[in-house]
Symmetry: C2
Subunit: 217 residues, 2 copies
DNA sequence: CATGATATTTTGTGATCACAAAATAGTAAA
DNA sequence: TTTACTATTTTGTGATCACAAAATATCATG
């Protein structure tokens, strides 16, 4: 994609994180990744440091870079900020959506319905993230968008990992439908409220999965 | 402070940015900074890349790193996010403040009063940032705090530069006093509202300075 | 004098090496 | 078997070098 190596490595490691390919607490070692991708340690170092700066990885002083572990407390902290930022983004985006945007969002909602019925976790998560991020992307505020993406990068890994093998609740799409209806009607406040309900329901669902996992381990 | 070089350089460049020591659009060159601090280019490179990742500097593809310029639009984007995040932080922090915290905040308000009367811009800005950041720091949510600090790093440089030589409005402390009264009374919602008024007034004040500058240049 | 092509310099990126601190393995004593 | 100490390996950091692309300077041409 980009012509410099550290950008490519950044994208690779980032998508690896979002896909849940690394375990919480796992150490990402510069030389290992470098030999895996066939490069020198230098661009790997830069990519990891960037991910640390963005909050996607945690780096202790003069120590290895680690995949952060998700606790209930940390999840609630992130959730609190998400509620504020994503609520704002929905409100701003609603009056700015084009006909094409609406069509895409409608398609996402339908795909989530199908995915829930056929129990395709990956399909659900994919459509879910597209629904949210495409909607927020229309808010017209790059600073806001950047902050939201930083938060998604911090929780994304746990979405994918925790959801894998879990039963999808049948209600996981209800609030998306409410939100879409409000969006289509141009009701920004209503869309925000519906989306906040969605985030809340989703957060509770995920906290249950988190409690299950930590109970098992 | 820290034992690794890139951390020191990061702190140095960062405080240089916050002090308004660099001009908007100015290119920060690795080798120049390296020779200025007497190090190799390597830790400078890391420090600059970190600042880019945090949004404090902008880095085009395979090009020099630049100090971003502030436009009205960008300032309004940042302000919109600040309003959401700092409002939330005040609300969360209010019931968590200790007696010592309150004493410190009261002191900040007094120092701002004195600074406005004696027209000491630096004194005002210093007390102002301490008031806000210490208050937010008590919110108990590190994720929120981190996001707020990222935004301050993006506007801080322009505070200091634009304010220098400007006349301080006599009303620049009114809302701090309102906010402090609400905080002291434990009225979280009221504190949030007062702080939002402060941010709004401050933003307008700064947008005037920005318009003045861009009109002159 | 203005303008576009060319040569020179500057600058960021990536590789390799040296080094110190941290992590790990190994060993001996209780 | 457990614990404390030591030796070895691993790992991140910082320096130096090579290189290509970008920025700048130089010069010829209209």
């Amino acid at each position: 994609m980009a012509d410099n190596l550290q950008e490519q490595l950044y994208q690779n490691i980032r998508s690896g994180l979002l896909a849940g390919r690394f375990q919480p607490g796992e150490r990402l070692k510069i030389r290992d990744l470098a030999s895996e991708w066939g490069t020198s340690p230098m661009p790997v170092r830069a990519a990891l440091q960037r991910l640390v700066a963005e909050g996607a990885l945690e780096g202790e002083q003069q120590r290895s870079v680690r995949v952060p572990s998700m606790t209930r407390e940390r999840y609630e902290n992130i959730f609190q900020v998400r509620l504020a930022l994503e609520g704002l983004a929905v409100e701003l985006a609603t009056p700015r959506l084009s006909r094409d945007d609406l069509a895409l969002l409608r398609d996402c909602v339908q795909r989530m319905d199908v995915a829930i019925e056929t129990r395709q976790v990956q399909g659900y998560l994919s459509a879910n993230s597209q629904f949210h991020l495409h909607l927020y992307g229309a808010c017209g505020n790059p600073v806001l968008m950047r902050s939201i993406e930083s938060l998604w990068l911090q929780i994304g890994p746990f979405f994918n990992r925790l959801f894998t093998g879990a039963d999808l609740s049948l209600r996981l799409n209800d609030f998306h439908e409410d939100a879409f209806a409000a969006i289509e009607a141009g009701d920004a406040k209503g869309a925000r409220q519906a989306m906040e309900q969605d985030l809340l329901y989703f957060a509770r669902f995920l906290l249950n999965l988190l409690a299950l996992e930590q109970g098992e381990v």
